[in-house]
Point group: C2
Chain length 385, copies 2
């Protein structure tokens, strides 16, 4: 089992109306607040009003910075930094999903960038400081509310890069499952695929020794399988929403990767797919993962898929458990209305080589459970077609 | 699902030789260090030397406060407070297991007690401040290294009481599984029973809605079942030790009780047993839990035991899964050399009524999965006899 360090400092407030009281929490960290949000659905569904009421009753003044895009853009981050500096902002409250949180993290550290915030993403500069931030989460998917990661897209250079720094770990996160009840069916499903994909990337490792991390990964996959379809069919089922929301946070806060290597090849395949086609991130993952599984399943990796089949899908007997576990996953994705093939969403097969080449060029060989080169990537895309 | 708050601030350093580097961590918090430990096994097995080397190379002076008893006593805590005050101690490093950590927590807050530290335990006063503390863990069992609890025994008044305060949450914990390789077979087994008992108290709840907490509890129980017997048979199996150690910390750091009520009746039954007979805490739990399970299993609680049988023991079919799950647990305890009946350890049945009365007197009705009154407690003791 590999050594590890763990630092789960984000304080979690979980439940209905938990936004009440965050003024006290915010006052510990700052006085001049910037409220960052996305396209306005928080205003449509009353979440903005609840946050505004809480801040007003706590006598906290804030400025708004809305309009963050689903894949947050570098120019939005730069604009946010400018506004934050002009207003001497010392605390950011991110109200939204992964995109809003990631943009807020980038702004929080970007304020102290000597040259440009993008230097942190390219690795040219190291993040030394950030203003504190807190989160009011409105969709279960990315886990950004309790981790050190942020992904930003630089449209000019066609790059999508990430930072990983404890400086941008949120101080607190409000998880009110009722806020996710207004998330539409398709995005609920895409969120579930995203959560499961995060777990898969950590679960499907060549390392066998981190038994705690593996069993916990299986337990969260079971939550997705049990509660996901319920949340999909009945968006206002609070219990299902609550369990999915909490599983989502735990899926990528660091707990599941402790003591082992992680894979993340499928995310690179999926990101490249979304760079070419306008698909929800979760839908690219539901297309890529079954194909990736079929391709990497061989005599060396079979043990892991058998474990997956037995412990996650309750498969028993000795016959083709590995293959059946992948079929079960495809069935689940279809049950919640997600595609598992590019053809299902009208994608032609004329870009497969280019996509595989792009990944090869940027990353070289990828993957941990099985190392993947250009030919492998192309074969996975073909299986996913 | 019930609302919850979660604050997992303790930084975890997990792996071999992780004691190296803690000087830097300690320097963030204090300059005058008190090193608290137990009966001297840390000196016998070289752990003390490793800590001493690290502190010396970090140029950290410290005073020693050793001799903490297995069930830490109030008079030891009071003595520790006196020594700490005389030496202007501003940081405590606890090197040991649950008893040493609990005593350290009591000393850390007791330094600021206006009258006496015991007032915090009786509830007469509230803990407002504590000096920071860190942990080097040497046995997997109590989970005290990453939680807000401490239990101290007042021998004079024959009371064993607890505090629960975020002020005494350790700042960091070093979990080096190789330190547990010298733990003898019997205490390894008792530790495993203790870990499983902590999980049971949270898992066997009347609430059905906290699916994440339930699935995670099952995953950690599976770790105990898979890795426990290996660690028991072969104490120097690092992988098994590592997984048990990490499961132990996660079992009682708050994660498993989120969103639900917990039971804790069995712990009260077990504590009362250990007040009368000199048994390891884990052995009292391996005696009480199967009896408690048999007694509370009825038509209202069967669903939970069926869940336990299916998800933890891989039982299938529809026949007597609940009963079989309890048998499996008894088999496991016997496999690792633990008793499941009082008779097995030479206890006579002439104290059962008195023990049941004592619990009734102190706590009244106890339990959550099923409420237990005097007659119930006596019946459980009889089943456990």
């Amino acid at each position: 089992m590999k050594d590890f360090e763990l630092n789960l400092k984000t304080k979690i407030y979980f439940g209905k109306n938990k936004v009440k009281g965050i003024s006290e929490e915010i006052k510990k960290y700052g006085k001049k607040i910037m409220l960052v949000y996305g396209g306005g659905s928080i205003k449509k569904y009353g979440i903005f009003d609840e946050v505004d009421n809480e801040l007003s009753s706590g006598e906290i003044d804030y400025i708004e910075f809305g309009g963050i895009s689903p894949n947050p853009r570098l120019k939005e981050v730069r604009e946010g930094i400018k506004v934050a500096k002009e207003n001497d902002i010392d605390f950011i409250l991110a109200v939204g999903g992964g995109s809003v949180i990631d943009a807020s993290k980038a702004i929080a550290c970007g304020i102290y960038a000597k040259n440009d915030v993008w230097d942190y993403f390219t690795g040219e500069k190291e993040i030394e400081k950030a203003i504190p931030l807190g989160v009011v989460l409105t969709i279960a998917a990315t886990g950004s509310e309790m981790n050190i990661n942020a992904v930003i897209t630089n449209q000019k250079d066609k790059q999508k890069l990430a930072i990983h720094s404890e400086k941008v770990l949120p101080k607190f996160a409000v998880l009110d499952p009722s806020y996710t009840e207004s998330v539409p069916k398709y995005h609920t499903a895409a969120g579930i695929a995203d959560i499961m994909a995060h777990i898969f990337e950590q679960y499907f490792s060549p390392d066998r020794e981190a038994v705690v991390s593996d069993r916990m990964a299986e337990s969260l996959l079971r939550v997705c399988i049990e509660e996901g379809p319920i949340a999909y069919r009945n968006g206002s089922n609070y219990i299902a929403r609550a369990n999915i929301m909490w599983a989502s946070t735990l899926a990528l806060n660091g707990l599941l990767s402790l003591g082992k290597r992680t894979d993340w090849a499928s995310h690179k395949l999926a990101h490249e797919l979304s760079a070419h086609y306008d698909l929800a991130h979760g839908a690219t993952l539901s297309i890529i993962f079954p194909a990736w599984m079929k391709y990497v399943l061989d005599e060396n990796t079979e043990w892991k898929f058998v474990q997956f089949g037995k412990n996650v899908w309750d498969l028993s007997g000795s016959d083709k458990i590995a293959e059946k576990s992948i079929e079960k996953l495809e069935e689940l994705f279809h049950e919640i209305g997600l595609p598992t093939r590019m053809r299902e969403v009208g994608i032609e097969d004329d870009n497969l080589e280019e996509m595989a080449e792009n990944i090869k060029e940027v990353y070289g060989e990828i993957g941990a459970l099985k190392k993947l080169d250009y030919e492998d990537l192309l074969n996975i895309y073909k299986l996913a077609f």
